[in-house]
Symmetry: C2
Subunit: 454 residues, 2 copies
């Protein structure tokens, strides 16, 4: 009789999910993600109440505290903050006016690029020269560029099916345009927004100055604004632009990565990280980029806890700070992991928006890649089919040195750059069902990688 009780107790105490087929656990993960509203309301709070949460801002501090609480509510075994040094940059007044002796004048809306220096409060008035790439700067030379504002107007190649490839092909104008133009004596740059959209939203993003060059102001103009500017310029090459952007850089300050974990039951020393980034551009709610990725990471903790999934390894959700300006959050996380001799088994990043999930990209080779790709069979019922080579993300990249498998969450990204870095990246642009299908697929993949030791 005593033995029978022991037997019964052991049967009863086995967590439900342990006794189930992986297929059933995954189904319960999707059910939970689709039935529960926490992710929706968390996303809404981050978008509406911590809008513009750029590094070091009060909104970013609010987002840190809010996601710390969200991780506690999700049931994480422990939650902590990790101090991160971040740049502090603030947008000022910004105006841009086209002035033509022939055709009058017209304003176009702009957004200063992150980390850009500003103009004086009176702004600058100068002629404009339109270029499409850095080679053209070299051809034009100092004699044609000096004292002028360089207008970088190379569009994103809309014909590239991979929307990130299109973006990558244009974004060096934003990241390096100011430095390159400065070498030829330009006094400022206006950069066409890096998006496939043709609309009125300027898309900001970081600009980086090389050492030993004169730092000149850099602003983005919307794609329609760029078309307009180019149109005026074709008709009056002598026109001037009155550009004001009183943004400022301040000394670095402190912020935090927000971390919550479920301690592994069998190999607690091995860590699987899942993360998004908490900072967002100051002009944006940062819904797709990247409150959605943070919420999906919190969801992994919440869903595991709610369903009683006890991973063998420690699963950590990380809201990285400062992905946008200089990546110190990701670097700090990896540096501390290294200093603590942590074992990082795998890391997954969601930073491509939160539209419908298409699959995952794995930075793996040979037999390991094949094993990981074989996991696609579990995702057939969810119509998630893309298990491809190549993937990761900038916040988890520093973990590669520690041997962590790099995994990138791959949603449909065809409309992602409509929102990216602009005031158009709002809560309303996220479809919660699409986001939650992503949350579930991320949770399911981490569950499988851990369970099967892939």
């Amino acid at each position: 009789m005593y033995k029978l009780w022991i037997l019964l107790a052991s049967i009863i105490l086995v967590p439900v999910v342990k006794s189930q087929e992986p297929e059933k656990v995954i189904r319960s993960v999707f059910d939970e993600a689709l039935a529960d509203n926490t992710a929706d309301l968390t996303l809404k709070y981050l978008c509406k109440n911590t809008k513009g949460r750029i590094d070091g801002s009060p909104a970013a501090a609010e987002a840190v505290e809010y996601t710390r609480q969200a991780l506690i509510r999700a049931g994480a075994d422990s939650v902590w903050l990790q101090k991160v040094s971040v740049p502090r940059w603030e947008r000022g007044d910004e105006h841009c006016r086209i002035v033509s002796q022939m055709f009058g004048s017209e304003d176009i809306s702009i957004a200063a690029l992150g980390l850009s220096v500003g103009t004086s409060p009176e702004g600058i008035v100068a002629k404009l020269i339109e270029v499409h790439d850095f080679e053209q700067l070299r051809t034009l030379g100092k004699k044609n560029i000096e004292g002028k504002i360089v207008f970088f107007n190379r569009p994103v190649d809309n014909l590239l099916i991979n929307s990130f490839a299109g973006y990558s092909g244009a974004v060096n104008q934003r990241t390096n345009g100011a430095s390159e133009a400065s070498k030829y004596g330009a006094i400022a740059v206006i950069v066409r927004s890096a998006t496939q959209a043709m609309d009125d939203f300027p898309h900001t993003g970081v600009t980086r100055y090389e050492e030993n060059i004169s730092r000149i102001p850099a602003v983005a103009v919307s794609t329609l604004g760029a078309e307009k500017l180019s149109h005026w310029l074709r008709s009056d090459p002598q026109l001037t632009v009155h550009l004001t952007s009183t943004c400022r850089n301040y000394p670095d300050t402190w912020s935090y990565n927000v971390i919550g974990e479920i301690l592994g039951k069998q190999k607690p020393e091995e860590i699987i990280t899942v993360g998004g980034h908490l900072d967002a551009w100051d002009i944006s709610e940062g819904a797709h980029d990247n409150a959605g990725g943070c919420v999906q990471s919190v969801e992994v903790i919440r869903i595991f806890k709610k369903l009683g999934i006890s991973p063998k390894r420690t699963v950590r959700a990380v809201m990285f700070m400062n992905e946008e300006m200089s990546g110190t959050g990701g670097k700090r996380y990896a540096a501390e992991a290294k200093a603590n001799n942590e074992i990082h088994y795998a890391a997954l990043e969601s930073d491509r928006g939160v539209a419908s999930p298409r699959g995952f990209g794995f930075d793996a080779e040979g037999a390991r890649l094949e094993k990981l790709q074989s996991l696609s069979s579990y995702f057939i019922p969810y119509n998630i089919r893309d298990f491809d080579k190549g993937g990761g993300g900038s916040d988890i990249a520093p973990l590669k040195e520690l041997g962590a498998l790099q995994v990138g969450f791959m949603p449909d990204t065809q409309r992602y750059f409509w929102y990216h870095h602009s005031a158009n990246d709002t809560y309303e642009q996220v479809n919660i069902r699409e986001m939650q299908l992503g949350s579930a697929s991320i949770a399911a993949l981490i569950y499988l990688i851990d369970l099967l030791d892939y």
Copy 2:
């Protein structure tokens, strides 16, 4: 020398696309779809200038003429209208007010269901009874239902991954709820909108009356409205509802399918149809449902002509009228095809919204299905991977009798029912890049099916 000229001439005169690999032709199809703006502006016109183009309305007549012109502009070899008998139904004033002796009163927004009868201008006042399915009607019986308004409140099952399966599981309340409730003496029905969204948009759609029952008014309420109504009803089961809906049915009238074709070069007698439907609900711009599908069909003609693709078979784009209320456009098209002894080789319908393309569904078996599925290899560069069994659409279904292969265009449909049949289905909810990736994939598939005789 003369022979050399002949040789040179014959080389030069071969249309570019004929001399190319299918892979290159397909690439040029995608390039054209993504580079050209015609589809964007056509969609915008249909949404903004022919909004609410329900059967027999002035807006529908405008849409007929506009798409006729669009097909001519697209370069169709011939364009014509095909007369179709359509129902004529008009929304009237509509109001719904909850009145409780205990808690006061509150309005909820409603939308009459298509083909519904109306109330008197004064409306009706009655108690409410909430039910979730027709079985519950039977259980409650006449004694509990007679003289009341039946409130059908079964939600769409949000846990179903296939959004259409979720919709299908709830929509009988809308299509048959009035007839079923009438059998037990109900005097009207209020139906929860068939959508996974939780918002304030009522989603209309057709309701169908059985013969020999008393026809009672039927209206939709938004999902949040349904939650509110249910909430009030739990607290005060004695509350009444004052429901007014002065919609009316008129005698059938005439409208048109709009047809444009490219005559086949080798087998002009064999026809491949590609279509969407032109009618839309009166409260909606009908962007996803289904101006987008019409535009994609016109794009097939435009792209083929622009690129000089000369199909072996005749390719017809059809804007079907009256998909929404009784499908007479599709029936008429098939009936005329049959009367004319036309040979219909294949038919493709785009009526699942115009989000990012995922693939196609084929109503085929065995070797033919395998051949069609093998076409997926051509779509790998476009990340279009779903070539599945099962597909078609209600407008092309009558062509099945004539032996036409049935193909359904399958976009991502996770957010489709956010828009479907509601005022939320606007031009702004379509991402043009997503729609055009769909246009290109449809054109490419038709090109391949024709070229390879699949």
